[in-house]
Protein backbone atom coordinates (compact mmCIF):
# COMPACT_ATOMS: atom_id res chain seq x y z
CA UNK A 1 0.00 0.00 0.00
CA UNK A 2 1.22 3.46 -0.77
CA UNK A 3 2.47 5.96 1.77
CA UNK A 4 0.08 8.54 0.28
CA UNK A 5 -2.52 9.86 2.63
CA UNK A 6 -5.38 12.17 1.75
CA UNK A 7 -5.05 15.73 2.94
CA UNK A 8 -8.17 16.27 5.03
CA UNK A 9 -11.74 15.09 4.53
CA UNK A 10 -12.00 16.33 0.96
CA UNK A 11 -9.65 13.60 -0.20
CA UNK A 12 -7.07 15.65 -2.04
CA UNK A 13 -3.65 14.01 -2.07
CA UNK A 14 -0.37 15.91 -1.92
CA UNK A 15 2.46 14.20 -3.76
CA UNK A 16 5.72 15.85 -4.86
CA UNK A 17 4.14 19.27 -4.64
CA UNK A 18 1.09 18.35 -6.77
CA UNK A 19 -2.43 18.27 -5.37
CA UNK A 20 -4.21 15.22 -6.83
CA UNK A 21 -8.01 15.07 -6.97
CA UNK A 22 -9.83 11.73 -7.29
CA UNK A 23 -12.92 11.51 -9.51
CA UNK A 24 -15.27 8.61 -8.88
CA UNK A 25 -18.39 7.36 -10.64
CA UNK A 26 -20.51 4.31 -9.88
CA UNK A 27 -22.40 1.85 -12.04
CA UNK A 28 -24.95 -0.33 -10.31
CA UNK A 29 -26.75 -3.33 -11.75
CA UNK A 30 -29.91 -4.14 -9.81
CA UNK A 31 -32.16 -7.11 -10.55
CA UNK A 32 -35.79 -6.11 -10.80
CA UNK A 33 -38.15 -7.92 -8.43
CA UNK A 34 -40.29 -9.56 -11.10
CA UNK A 35 -41.56 -13.12 -10.89
CA UNK A 36 -40.34 -14.01 -14.34
CA UNK A 37 -37.40 -13.08 -16.53
CA UNK A 38 -37.18 -9.99 -18.69
CA UNK A 39 -37.83 -11.49 -22.11
CA UNK A 40 -39.29 -14.94 -21.36
CA UNK A 41 -41.73 -16.39 -18.80
CA UNK A 42 -39.18 -18.46 -16.85
CA UNK A 43 -39.54 -18.01 -13.11
CA UNK A 44 -36.27 -17.06 -11.44
CA UNK A 45 -35.07 -17.68 -7.88
CA UNK A 46 -31.44 -17.35 -6.87
CA UNK A 47 -29.98 -20.59 -5.57
CA UNK A 48 -32.01 -23.04 -7.67
CA UNK A 49 -30.38 -26.12 -9.19
CA UNK A 50 -28.29 -25.10 -12.22
CA UNK A 51 -30.02 -24.84 -15.59
CA UNK A 52 -33.49 -25.59 -14.23
CA UNK A 53 -35.01 -22.14 -14.89
CA UNK A 54 -34.48 -21.96 -18.59
CA UNK A 55 -36.36 -21.97 -21.88
CA UNK A 56 -35.55 -21.60 -25.59
CA UNK A 57 -35.42 -17.79 -25.29
CA UNK A 58 -32.98 -17.43 -22.40
CA UNK A 59 -30.73 -20.23 -23.64
CA UNK A 60 -30.47 -18.63 -27.08
CA UNK A 61 -32.10 -21.37 -29.15
CA UNK A 62 -32.42 -20.53 -32.84
CA UNK A 63 -35.76 -19.00 -33.76
CA UNK A 64 -36.85 -18.20 -30.22
CA UNK A 65 -38.37 -14.74 -29.88
CA UNK A 66 -38.19 -12.49 -26.83
CA UNK A 67 -41.20 -10.71 -25.36
CA UNK A 68 -40.95 -7.90 -22.82
CA UNK A 69 -42.17 -8.36 -19.27
CA UNK A 70 -44.61 -5.50 -18.52
CA UNK A 71 -43.82 -5.70 -14.80
CA UNK A 72 -40.12 -5.10 -15.45
CA UNK A 73 -40.96 -1.88 -17.29
CA UNK A 74 -43.26 -0.81 -14.45
CA UNK A 75 -40.69 -1.45 -11.72
CA UNK A 76 -37.97 0.26 -13.75
CA UNK A 77 -40.19 3.31 -14.19
CA UNK A 78 -40.95 3.37 -10.47
CA UNK A 79 -37.24 3.32 -9.59
CA UNK A 80 -36.61 6.09 -12.11
CA UNK A 81 -39.34 8.29 -10.65
CA UNK A 82 -38.10 7.78 -7.09
CA UNK A 83 -34.66 8.88 -8.27
CA UNK A 84 -36.01 11.99 -9.97
CA UNK A 85 -35.17 10.82 -13.50
CA UNK A 86 -36.91 11.89 -16.70
CA UNK A 87 -38.64 8.87 -18.21
CA UNK A 88 -38.52 8.81 -22.00
CA UNK A 89 -41.94 8.43 -23.65
CA UNK A 90 -40.35 6.00 -26.09
CA UNK A 91 -37.19 3.94 -26.02
CA UNK A 92 -35.74 0.97 -27.85
CA UNK A 93 -33.55 -2.04 -27.28
CA UNK A 94 -30.21 -2.87 -28.82
CA UNK A 95 -27.91 -5.83 -29.13
CA UNK A 96 -24.51 -5.64 -27.53
CA UNK A 97 -22.48 -8.31 -29.28
CA UNK A 98 -19.78 -10.28 -27.55
CA UNK A 99 -18.77 -13.89 -27.25
CA UNK A 100 -18.67 -15.33 -23.81
CA UNK A 101 -20.03 -18.52 -22.33
CA UNK A 102 -22.46 -16.78 -19.96
CA UNK A 103 -24.37 -15.12 -22.81
CA UNK A 104 -25.83 -17.89 -24.99
CA UNK A 105 -27.19 -15.69 -27.78
CA UNK A 106 -23.75 -14.07 -28.23
CA UNK A 107 -25.39 -10.73 -27.61
CA UNK A 108 -26.97 -9.05 -24.65
CA UNK A 109 -30.25 -7.20 -25.08
CA UNK A 110 -29.72 -3.76 -23.59
CA UNK A 111 -30.43 -0.11 -24.32
CA UNK A 112 -27.65 1.78 -26.06
CA UNK A 113 -28.52 5.24 -27.30
CA UNK A 114 -32.11 5.48 -26.05
CA UNK A 115 -32.18 4.56 -22.36
CA UNK A 116 -35.64 4.52 -20.82
CA UNK A 117 -34.64 7.35 -18.50
CA UNK A 118 -32.00 10.02 -17.98
CA UNK A 119 -31.07 12.56 -15.32
CA UNK A 120 -32.06 12.48 -11.69
CA UNK A 121 -29.78 11.74 -8.77
CA UNK A 122 -29.44 11.34 -5.03
CA UNK A 123 -28.63 13.94 -2.40
CA UNK A 124 -26.32 12.43 0.21
CA UNK A 125 -26.55 13.23 3.92
CA UNK A 126 -23.30 15.19 3.51
CA UNK A 127 -25.15 17.57 1.17
CA UNK A 128 -23.31 16.36 -1.95
CA UNK A 129 -25.66 15.74 -4.90
CA UNK A 130 -24.73 12.74 -7.04
CA UNK A 131 -26.19 13.12 -10.51
CA UNK A 132 -27.36 10.12 -12.46
CA UNK A 133 -26.42 10.15 -16.10
CA UNK A 134 -28.93 7.49 -17.09
CA UNK A 135 -30.59 4.24 -16.18
CA UNK A 136 -31.23 1.58 -18.77
CA UNK A 137 -32.95 -1.78 -18.91
CA UNK A 138 -31.09 -4.91 -19.90
CA UNK A 139 -30.95 -8.65 -19.40
CA UNK A 140 -28.60 -10.33 -16.97
CA UNK A 141 -26.01 -12.88 -18.08
CA UNK A 142 -25.75 -16.46 -16.84
CA UNK A 143 -23.17 -17.52 -14.30
CA UNK A 144 -19.75 -18.87 -15.20
CA UNK A 145 -18.02 -20.83 -12.47
CA UNK A 146 -14.27 -21.08 -12.80
CA UNK A 147 -13.13 -22.82 -9.64
CA UNK A 148 -14.22 -26.40 -10.35
CA UNK A 149 -11.43 -28.19 -12.11
CA UNK A 150 -10.09 -27.67 -15.58
CA UNK A 151 -13.26 -26.35 -17.22
CA UNK A 152 -15.62 -23.43 -16.79
CA UNK A 153 -19.13 -24.46 -15.74
CA UNK A 154 -22.08 -22.48 -16.99
CA UNK A 155 -25.47 -22.07 -15.31
CA UNK A 156 -27.99 -20.19 -17.41
CA UNK A 157 -30.66 -19.70 -14.72
CA UNK A 158 -29.71 -16.06 -14.29
CA UNK A 159 -29.51 -15.41 -18.04
CA UNK A 160 -32.35 -13.09 -18.98
CA UNK A 161 -33.24 -11.75 -15.52
CA UNK A 162 -34.25 -8.09 -15.83
CA UNK A 163 -31.69 -5.55 -14.67
CA UNK A 164 -31.58 -1.82 -14.42
CA UNK A 165 -28.11 -0.39 -14.81
CA UNK A 166 -27.77 3.05 -13.28
CA UNK A 167 -24.74 5.14 -14.12
CA UNK A 168 -23.76 8.20 -12.10
CA UNK A 169 -21.82 11.19 -13.28
CA UNK A 170 -18.32 11.26 -11.79
CA UNK A 171 -19.62 13.34 -8.88
CA UNK A 172 -18.05 11.39 -6.04
CA UNK A 173 -14.68 11.96 -4.47
CA UNK A 174 -14.27 9.76 -1.41
CA UNK A 175 -14.90 6.16 -0.28
CA UNK A 176 -17.49 7.53 2.16
CA UNK A 177 -19.35 9.24 -0.70
CA UNK A 178 -19.47 5.93 -2.55
CA UNK A 179 -20.81 4.02 0.44
CA UNK A 180 -23.38 6.72 1.21
CA UNK A 181 -24.59 6.78 -2.40
CA UNK A 182 -24.86 3.00 -2.63
CA UNK A 183 -26.70 2.78 0.69
CA UNK A 184 -29.18 5.43 -0.41
CA UNK A 185 -29.70 3.88 -3.85
CA UNK A 186 -30.25 0.45 -2.36
CA UNK A 187 -32.78 1.84 0.14
CA UNK A 188 -34.72 3.57 -2.62
CA UNK A 189 -34.84 0.44 -4.78
CA UNK A 190 -36.11 -1.59 -1.84
CA UNK A 191 -38.66 1.01 -0.74
CA UNK A 192 -40.13 1.32 -4.21
CA UNK A 193 -40.27 -2.46 -4.53
CA UNK A 194 -38.20 -2.24 -7.72
CA UNK A 195 -35.55 -4.62 -6.41
CA UNK A 196 -34.85 -6.68 -3.32
CA UNK A 197 -31.25 -5.51 -3.80
CA UNK A 198 -29.77 -8.34 -1.72
CA UNK A 199 -26.04 -8.13 -2.37
CA UNK A 200 -25.37 -11.67 -1.20
CA UNK A 201 -27.77 -12.98 -3.81
CA UNK A 202 -26.17 -10.79 -6.48
CA UNK A 203 -29.28 -8.66 -6.84
CA UNK A 204 -27.28 -5.45 -6.39
CA UNK A 205 -23.82 -5.28 -7.95
CA UNK A 206 -21.55 -2.31 -8.39
CA UNK A 207 -18.59 -1.29 -10.48
CA UNK A 208 -16.52 1.79 -9.74
CA UNK A 209 -14.86 4.13 -12.23
CA UNK A 210 -11.89 6.00 -10.87
CA UNK A 211 -9.48 8.56 -12.26
CA UNK A 212 -7.21 11.14 -10.67
CA UNK A 213 -5.90 14.48 -11.95
CA UNK A 214 -3.85 17.39 -10.64
CA UNK A 215 -6.14 20.02 -9.18
CA UNK A 216 -7.31 22.48 -11.84
CA UNK A 217 -6.23 20.27 -14.75
CA UNK A 218 -8.23 18.14 -17.16
CA UNK A 219 -9.51 14.74 -16.10
CA UNK A 220 -7.33 11.78 -16.96
CA UNK A 221 -7.76 8.15 -18.01
CA UNK A 222 -10.36 6.29 -16.02
CA UNK A 223 -10.09 2.76 -14.73
CA UNK A 224 -13.06 0.50 -14.05
CA UNK A 225 -13.01 -1.78 -11.01
CA UNK A 226 -15.19 -4.86 -10.81
CA UNK A 227 -15.81 -7.72 -8.42
CA UNK A 228 -17.01 -5.49 -5.61
CA UNK A 229 -19.58 -7.51 -3.74
CA UNK A 230 -19.94 -5.40 -0.62
CA UNK A 231 -19.95 -1.74 0.28
CA UNK A 232 -16.81 -2.23 2.36
CA UNK A 233 -15.05 -3.76 -0.66
CA UNK A 234 -16.06 -0.73 -2.71
CA UNK A 235 -14.49 1.54 -0.12
CA UNK A 236 -11.38 -0.60 0.23
CA UNK A 237 -10.91 -0.72 -3.55
CA UNK A 238 -11.14 3.09 -3.78
CA UNK A 239 -8.67 3.49 -0.91
CA UNK A 240 -6.23 1.28 -2.78
CA UNK A 241 -6.80 2.47 -6.34
CA UNK A 242 -6.56 6.24 -5.89
CA UNK A 243 -3.02 6.25 -4.45
CA UNK A 244 -2.02 3.56 -6.97
CA UNK A 245 -3.01 5.81 -9.86
CA UNK A 246 -1.33 8.88 -8.37
CA UNK A 247 1.96 7.03 -7.95
CA UNK A 248 1.63 5.63 -11.47
CA UNK A 249 1.21 9.16 -12.87
CA UNK A 250 4.17 10.37 -10.83
CA UNK A 251 6.44 7.87 -12.58
CA UNK A 252 8.85 9.52 -15.06
CA UNK A 253 8.29 6.58 -17.45
CA UNK A 254 5.03 7.01 -19.43
CA UNK A 255 4.82 3.22 -19.71
CA UNK A 256 3.96 3.18 -16.00
CA UNK A 257 1.05 5.59 -16.35
CA UNK A 258 -2.52 4.32 -15.79
CA UNK A 259 -4.22 2.96 -18.90
CA UNK A 260 -7.90 2.58 -19.67
CA UNK A 261 -8.63 -0.91 -18.40
CA UNK A 262 -10.79 -3.05 -16.18
CA UNK A 263 -9.29 -4.13 -12.89
CA UNK A 264 -10.56 -6.71 -10.42
CA UNK A 265 -10.53 -6.12 -6.71
CA UNK A 266 -8.74 -8.98 -4.95
CA UNK A 267 -10.44 -9.14 -1.57
CA UNK A 268 -7.85 -11.37 0.08
CA UNK A 269 -4.87 -9.27 -0.99
CA UNK A 270 -6.68 -5.92 -0.73
CA UNK A 271 -5.39 -4.81 -4.14
CA UNK A 272 -6.77 -4.21 -7.63
CA UNK A 273 -5.32 -6.22 -10.50
CA UNK A 274 -5.46 -5.63 -14.23
CA UNK A 275 -8.06 -7.87 -15.85
CA UNK A 276 -7.92 -6.80 -19.47
CA UNK A 277 -7.59 -3.73 -21.57
CA UNK A 278 -11.03 -2.24 -22.02
CA UNK A 279 -12.63 -3.18 -25.32
CA UNK A 280 -13.35 -0.19 -27.50
CA UNK A 281 -17.04 0.59 -27.71
CA UNK A 282 -17.19 -0.21 -31.43
CA UNK A 283 -16.13 -3.78 -30.69
CA UNK A 284 -19.53 -4.48 -29.18
CA UNK A 285 -21.10 -3.59 -32.54
CA UNK A 286 -24.33 -2.30 -31.03
CA UNK A 287 -27.35 -2.30 -33.30
CA UNK A 288 -31.12 -2.08 -32.73
CA UNK A 289 -32.71 -5.40 -31.80
CA UNK A 290 -35.12 -6.27 -34.62
CA UNK A 291 -37.07 -8.72 -32.42
CA UNK A 292 -38.23 -6.17 -29.89
CA UNK A 293 -40.55 -3.30 -30.78
CA UNK A 294 -39.90 0.01 -29.02
CA UNK A 295 -41.52 0.53 -25.63
CA UNK A 296 -43.90 3.38 -25.02
CA UNK A 297 -44.33 4.92 -21.60
CA UNK A 298 -47.34 7.24 -21.73
CA UNK A 299 -47.57 10.27 -19.42
CA UNK A 300 -50.67 8.85 -17.73
CA UNK A 301 -48.77 5.67 -16.84
CA UNK A 302 -45.91 7.73 -15.41
CA UNK A 303 -48.29 9.81 -13.28
CA UNK A 304 -50.04 6.70 -12.04
CA UNK A 305 -46.71 5.14 -11.00
CA UNK A 306 -45.63 8.42 -9.40
CA UNK A 307 -48.80 8.44 -7.31
CA UNK A 308 -48.01 4.92 -6.08
CA UNK A 309 -44.52 5.80 -4.84
CA UNK A 310 -44.06 5.37 -1.11
CA UNK A 311 -42.54 8.06 1.05
CA UNK A 312 -38.78 7.48 0.73
CA UNK A 313 -36.52 6.66 3.69
CA UNK A 314 -34.75 10.02 3.92
CA UNK A 315 -38.10 11.83 4.05
CA UNK A 316 -39.41 9.40 6.67
CA UNK A 317 -36.35 9.86 8.90
CA UNK A 318 -36.83 13.60 8.78
CA UNK A 319 -40.53 13.34 9.59
CA UNK A 320 -40.01 10.89 12.47
CA UNK A 321 -37.60 13.33 14.09
CA UNK A 322 -39.60 16.48 13.34
CA UNK A 323 -43.18 15.30 13.95
CA UNK A 324 -42.84 12.31 16.24
CA UNK A 325 -39.90 13.47 18.34
CA UNK A 326 -37.72 10.42 17.72
CA UNK A 327 -33.94 10.57 17.87
CA UNK A 328 -31.89 10.52 14.68
CA UNK A 329 -30.57 7.11 15.70
CA UNK A 330 -34.03 5.59 16.26
CA UNK A 331 -35.35 7.10 13.03
CA UNK A 332 -32.41 5.49 11.25
CA UNK A 333 -33.02 2.06 12.77
CA UNK A 334 -36.74 2.15 11.96
CA UNK A 335 -36.24 3.12 8.32
CA UNK A 336 -33.53 0.59 7.50
CA UNK A 337 -36.25 -1.67 6.16
CA UNK A 338 -39.47 -0.43 4.70
CA UNK A 339 -41.48 -3.21 6.36
CA UNK A 340 -40.19 -2.16 9.79
CA UNK A 341 -40.96 1.50 9.11
CA UNK A 342 -44.46 0.58 7.93
CA UNK A 343 -45.00 -1.57 11.04
CA UNK A 344 -43.84 1.28 13.24
CA UNK A 345 -46.11 3.82 11.57
CA UNK A 346 -49.16 1.61 11.88
CA UNK A 347 -48.40 0.90 15.55
CA UNK A 348 -47.77 4.58 16.32
CA UNK A 349 -51.01 5.58 14.61
CA UNK A 350 -53.13 2.92 16.33
CA UNK A 351 -51.66 3.48 19.78
CA UNK A 352 -51.05 7.22 19.60
CA UNK A 353 -47.71 6.52 21.31
CA UNK A 354 -44.92 6.90 18.74
CA UNK A 355 -42.06 6.93 21.24
CA UNK A 356 -43.29 3.81 23.04
CA UNK A 357 -43.95 2.09 19.72
CA UNK A 358 -40.42 2.95 18.64
CA UNK A 359 -38.91 1.59 21.87
CA UNK A 360 -40.77 -1.69 21.68
CA UNK A 361 -39.94 -2.19 18.01
CA UNK A 362 -36.28 -1.21 18.16
CA UNK A 363 -35.60 -3.03 21.44
CA UNK A 364 -37.90 -6.04 21.83
CA UNK A 365 -39.16 -6.76 18.35
CA UNK A 366 -35.98 -6.42 16.31
CA UNK A 367 -34.07 -8.34 18.98
CA UNK A 368 -36.60 -11.17 18.79
CA UNK A 369 -36.30 -11.24 15.00
CA UNK A 370 -32.54 -11.59 15.14
CA UNK A 371 -32.65 -14.28 17.83
CA UNK A 372 -33.83 -17.84 17.48
CA UNK A 373 -36.74 -17.97 19.93
CA UNK A 374 -39.11 -17.45 17.03
CA UNK A 375 -39.08 -18.76 13.50
CA UNK A 376 -39.79 -15.45 11.76
CA UNK A 377 -36.70 -13.62 10.55
CA UNK A 378 -38.44 -10.62 9.04
CA UNK A 379 -41.23 -8.47 10.31
CA UNK A 380 -43.69 -9.54 7.59
CA UNK A 381 -43.54 -13.15 8.81
CA UNK A 382 -44.64 -12.24 12.33
CA UNK A 383 -48.00 -13.30 13.64
CA UNK A 384 -47.88 -10.22 15.81
CA UNK A 385 -49.35 -7.28 13.89
CA UNK A 386 -49.27 -3.53 14.60
CA UNK A 387 -52.76 -3.75 16.09
CA UNK A 388 -51.56 -6.33 18.64
CA UNK A 389 -48.58 -4.25 19.72
CA UNK A 390 -50.74 -1.12 20.01
CA UNK A 391 -53.11 -3.06 22.28
CA UNK A 392 -50.22 -3.96 24.57
CA UNK A 393 -49.07 -0.33 24.59
CA UNK A 394 -52.63 0.63 25.57
CA UNK A 395 -52.60 -1.79 28.51
CA UNK A 396 -49.27 -0.35 29.65
CA UNK A 397 -50.43 3.24 29.33
CA UNK A 398 -53.61 2.47 31.31
CA UNK A 399 -51.50 0.92 34.08
CA UNK A 400 -53.21 -2.44 33.65
CA UNK A 401 -49.92 -4.20 33.25
CA UNK A 402 -46.37 -3.55 34.46
CA UNK A 403 -43.19 -3.46 32.40
CA UNK A 404 -42.01 -6.94 33.35
CA UNK A 405 -45.37 -8.53 32.71
CA UNK A 406 -45.67 -6.63 29.43
CA UNK A 407 -42.43 -8.14 28.19
CA UNK A 408 -43.68 -11.58 29.22
CA UNK A 409 -46.94 -11.00 27.35
CA UNK A 410 -45.05 -9.65 24.33
CA UNK A 411 -42.91 -12.74 24.12
CA UNK A 412 -46.04 -14.94 24.23
CA UNK A 413 -47.72 -12.79 21.60
CA UNK A 414 -44.76 -13.40 19.30
CA UNK A 415 -44.87 -17.15 19.67
CA UNK A 416 -48.63 -17.70 19.89
CA UNK A 417 -50.05 -14.85 17.83
CA UNK A 418 -52.67 -14.33 20.56
CA UNK A 419 -53.95 -10.96 21.71
CA UNK A 420 -52.35 -9.13 24.62
CA UNK A 421 -55.59 -8.81 26.63
CA UNK A 422 -56.28 -12.51 26.30
CA UNK A 423 -52.82 -13.55 27.52
CA UNK A 424 -53.06 -11.05 30.34
CA UNK A 425 -56.28 -12.60 31.65
CA UNK A 426 -55.15 -16.18 31.04
CA UNK A 427 -51.92 -15.81 32.96
CA UNK A 428 -53.48 -13.55 35.60
CA UNK A 429 -50.82 -10.94 34.91
CA UNK A 430 -53.11 -7.98 35.56
CA UNK A 431 -51.32 -5.46 37.66
CA UNK A 432 -52.71 -5.32 41.21
CA UNK A 433 -53.93 -1.87 42.18
CA UNK A 434 -56.28 -2.86 44.98
CA UNK A 435 -55.30 -0.58 47.86
CA UNK A 436 -56.32 -2.90 50.64
CA UNK A 437 -54.34 -5.82 49.25
CA UNK A 438 -51.30 -3.65 48.52
CA UNK A 439 -51.42 -2.08 52.00
CA UNK A 440 -51.45 -5.49 53.60
CA UNK A 441 -48.31 -6.55 51.73
CA UNK A 442 -46.66 -3.23 52.59
CA UNK A 443 -47.37 -3.64 56.30
CA UNK A 444 -45.93 -7.17 56.18
CA UNK A 445 -42.79 -5.83 54.50
CA UNK A 446 -42.38 -3.08 57.10
CA UNK A 447 -42.74 -5.50 59.98
CA UNK A 448 -39.28 -6.31 61.29
CA UNK A 449 -37.60 -3.75 58.97
CA UNK A 450 -37.73 -0.75 61.30
CA UNK A 451 -34.15 0.24 60.48
CA UNK A 452 -35.00 0.52 56.76
CA UNK A 453 -38.03 2.65 57.58
CA UNK A 454 -35.82 4.87 59.75
CA UNK A 455 -33.35 5.34 56.90
CA UNK A 456 -36.15 6.37 54.56
CA UNK A 457 -37.49 8.74 57.15
CA UNK A 458 -33.99 10.24 57.47
CA UNK A 459 -34.22 11.16 53.78
CA UNK A 460 -32.55 8.18 52.06
CA UNK A 461 -35.32 7.42 49.59
CA UNK A 462 -33.23 4.79 47.82
CA UNK A 463 -33.47 2.58 50.87
CA UNK A 464 -37.11 2.00 50.03
CA UNK A 465 -35.95 -0.60 47.48
CA UNK A 466 -35.35 -2.99 50.38
CA UNK A 467 -39.09 -2.74 51.14
CA UNK A 468 -40.32 -2.80 47.53
CA UNK A 469 -38.62 -6.15 46.92
CA UNK A 470 -40.62 -8.14 49.49
CA UNK A 471 -43.91 -6.54 48.34
CA UNK A 472 -43.27 -7.37 44.70
CA UNK A 473 -42.27 -10.90 45.69
CA UNK A 474 -45.40 -11.33 47.77
CA UNK A 475 -47.55 -10.21 44.83
CA UNK A 476 -45.83 -12.49 42.36
CA UNK A 477 -44.51 -9.40 40.56
CA UNK A 478 -48.00 -8.09 39.86
CA UNK A 479 -48.23 -5.24 42.35
CA UNK A 480 -48.28 -1.82 40.69
CA UNK A 481 -44.84 -0.54 41.71
CA UNK A 482 -45.82 3.11 41.60
CA UNK A 483 -48.72 2.50 43.96
CA UNK A 484 -46.59 0.30 46.25
CA UNK A 485 -44.00 3.05 46.56
CA UNK A 486 -46.64 5.63 47.41
CA UNK A 487 -48.21 3.36 50.01
CA UNK A 488 -44.88 2.51 51.64
CA UNK A 489 -43.97 6.18 51.93
CA UNK A 490 -47.34 6.98 53.39
CA UNK A 491 -47.14 4.14 55.94
CA UNK A 492 -43.58 5.13 56.97
CA UNK A 493 -44.50 8.79 57.44
CA UNK A 494 -47.83 7.99 59.09
CA UNK A 495 -45.87 6.08 61.70
CA UNK A 496 -44.11 9.31 62.72
Amino acid sequence: MSPLRPDGDDWIFEASGTRWVPVIGLEVHAQLATRTKFLCPCAYEAGAQPNTQVCPVCTGQPGALPQLNAEAIKLAVRAALALGCDVAPRSKFDRKNYFYCDIPKNYQITQYDQPYCTGGGIRLASGRFVRLNRIHLEEDAGKAIHDRGDVTLVDLNRAGVPLIESVTEADLQTPEDAAAYLTALREILIYTGASSADMEKGEFRCDVNISVHPEGEEWRTKVEIKNLNSFSNVQAAIRYEVPRQILAWESPDPADHPVQETRLYDVAAGVTRSMRKKEGEADYRYFPDPDLPPILVPAAFIERQRSLLPELPAARRERYQRDLGLSEYDAGVLTLQRAVADFFEATARLSGQPKEACNWITNELLRALSGDEIEATCIDELRLKPFDLSELLGLLAAGKVGGGAARQIFSLMLTSGRAAGEILVDLGLEQIDDEEQLSEWCREALAGRASVAAEVRAGNLKAIGALMGPVMAASGGKANPTRVRELLLRLIHDAD
Binding site: N51, T52, N69, E71, C101, A141, H146, V154, R276, P293
Partner: protein, 107 residues
Amino acid sequence: MPETPLDILRRTAQLARLELTDEELARLAPQFQAILEHFEVLSSLDLGGVEATLAATELEDVKRADDPAAGIERSALLRGAPDPRDGYLAVPKTIGAAPRTNAGGGS
Protein backbone atom coordinates in the same frame (compact mmCIF):
# COMPACT_ATOMS: atom_id res chain seq x y z
CA MET B 1 -1.43 3.21 -41.78
CA PRO B 2 -4.98 2.23 -42.79
CA GLU B 3 -6.17 -1.27 -41.94
CA THR B 4 -5.82 -3.75 -44.75
CA PRO B 5 -8.70 -6.14 -45.54
CA LEU B 6 -6.58 -8.84 -43.92
CA ASP B 7 -6.27 -6.79 -40.70
CA ILE B 8 -10.03 -6.23 -40.61
CA LEU B 9 -10.69 -9.92 -41.19
CA ARG B 10 -8.25 -10.91 -38.43
CA ARG B 11 -9.80 -8.49 -35.96
CA THR B 12 -13.34 -9.57 -36.82
CA ALA B 13 -12.37 -13.23 -36.48
CA GLN B 14 -10.81 -12.49 -33.11
CA LEU B 15 -13.99 -10.75 -31.91
CA ALA B 16 -16.00 -13.78 -33.03
CA ARG B 17 -13.50 -16.09 -31.33
CA LEU B 18 -12.75 -17.81 -34.64
CA GLU B 19 -9.35 -19.30 -35.24
CA LEU B 20 -8.52 -19.04 -38.92
CA THR B 21 -5.50 -20.65 -40.55
CA ASP B 22 -3.31 -18.58 -42.87
CA GLU B 23 -4.84 -20.44 -45.78
CA GLU B 24 -8.37 -19.60 -44.62
CA LEU B 25 -7.40 -15.99 -44.08
CA ALA B 26 -5.98 -15.78 -47.57
CA ARG B 27 -9.12 -17.30 -49.09
CA LEU B 28 -11.60 -15.26 -47.02
CA ALA B 29 -9.89 -11.87 -47.18
CA PRO B 30 -10.98 -11.06 -50.76
CA GLN B 31 -14.53 -12.31 -50.07
CA PHE B 32 -14.67 -10.19 -46.95
CA GLN B 33 -13.40 -7.22 -48.86
CA ALA B 34 -16.15 -7.66 -51.46
CA ILE B 35 -18.76 -7.61 -48.70
CA LEU B 36 -17.25 -4.50 -47.16
CA GLU B 37 -17.15 -2.80 -50.54
CA HIS B 38 -20.82 -3.49 -50.97
CA PHE B 39 -21.50 -1.78 -47.64
CA GLU B 40 -19.41 1.14 -48.89
CA VAL B 41 -21.90 1.46 -51.76
CA LEU B 42 -24.78 1.51 -49.27
CA SER B 43 -22.96 4.01 -47.05
CA SER B 44 -22.39 6.34 -49.97
CA LEU B 45 -26.13 6.87 -50.50
CA ASP B 46 -27.55 10.15 -49.21
CA LEU B 47 -30.19 9.10 -46.66
CA GLY B 48 -30.39 12.43 -44.88
CA GLY B 49 -34.16 12.66 -45.28
CA VAL B 50 -34.97 9.02 -44.57
CA GLU B 51 -35.99 7.86 -41.13
CA ALA B 52 -34.03 4.89 -39.80
CA THR B 53 -35.83 1.56 -39.97
CA LEU B 54 -35.22 0.00 -36.59
CA ALA B 55 -37.53 -2.97 -37.00
CA ALA B 56 -39.14 -4.95 -39.76
CA THR B 57 -42.58 -4.56 -38.21
CA GLU B 58 -44.44 -1.46 -37.14
CA LEU B 59 -45.42 -3.01 -33.84
CA GLU B 60 -44.98 -0.92 -30.74
CA ASP B 61 -45.07 -1.63 -27.06
CA VAL B 62 -45.69 -5.38 -27.15
CA LYS B 63 -45.57 -6.71 -23.62
CA ARG B 64 -46.61 -9.80 -21.72
CA ALA B 65 -47.86 -10.23 -18.15
CA ASP B 66 -45.40 -11.32 -15.47
CA ASP B 67 -46.83 -14.86 -15.28
CA PRO B 68 -44.44 -17.80 -15.04
CA ALA B 69 -44.68 -20.59 -17.59
CA ALA B 70 -42.77 -23.85 -17.78
CA GLY B 71 -39.56 -23.73 -19.78
CA ILE B 72 -37.56 -26.72 -20.91
CA GLU B 73 -36.27 -29.65 -18.89
CA ARG B 74 -32.64 -29.50 -17.99
CA SER B 75 -32.05 -32.86 -19.64
CA ALA B 76 -33.36 -31.44 -22.91
CA LEU B 77 -31.02 -28.45 -22.67
CA LEU B 78 -28.02 -30.58 -21.79
CA ARG B 79 -28.71 -33.05 -24.63
CA GLY B 80 -27.74 -30.32 -27.05
CA ALA B 81 -24.52 -29.48 -25.21
CA PRO B 82 -21.14 -31.04 -26.04
CA ASP B 83 -20.03 -31.46 -22.41
CA PRO B 84 -22.72 -31.52 -19.75
CA ARG B 85 -21.38 -32.01 -16.19
CA ASP B 86 -23.39 -32.18 -12.97
CA GLY B 87 -26.23 -30.19 -14.47
CA TYR B 88 -23.89 -27.52 -15.82
CA LEU B 89 -22.70 -26.79 -19.31
CA ALA B 90 -18.94 -27.29 -19.27
CA VAL B 91 -16.88 -25.14 -21.60
CA PRO B 92 -13.14 -24.58 -22.00
CA LYS B 93 -11.71 -22.59 -19.11
CA THR B 94 -12.37 -18.97 -19.93
CA ILE B 95 -11.42 -16.79 -17.02
CA GLY B 96 -9.65 -13.67 -18.11
CA ALA B 97 -9.72 -14.82 -21.72
CA ALA B 98 -12.68 -12.96 -23.10
CA PRO B 99 -14.47 -9.66 -22.96
CA ARG B 100 -17.13 -9.45 -20.30
CA THR B 101 -20.09 -7.19 -20.22
CA ASN B 102 -20.97 -5.22 -17.19
CA ALA B 103 -23.87 -7.55 -16.60
CA GLY B 104 -21.78 -10.59 -15.89
CA GLY B 105 -21.34 -10.67 -12.17
CA GLY B 106 -18.98 -13.63 -12.23
CA SER B 107 -19.39 -16.60 -10.02
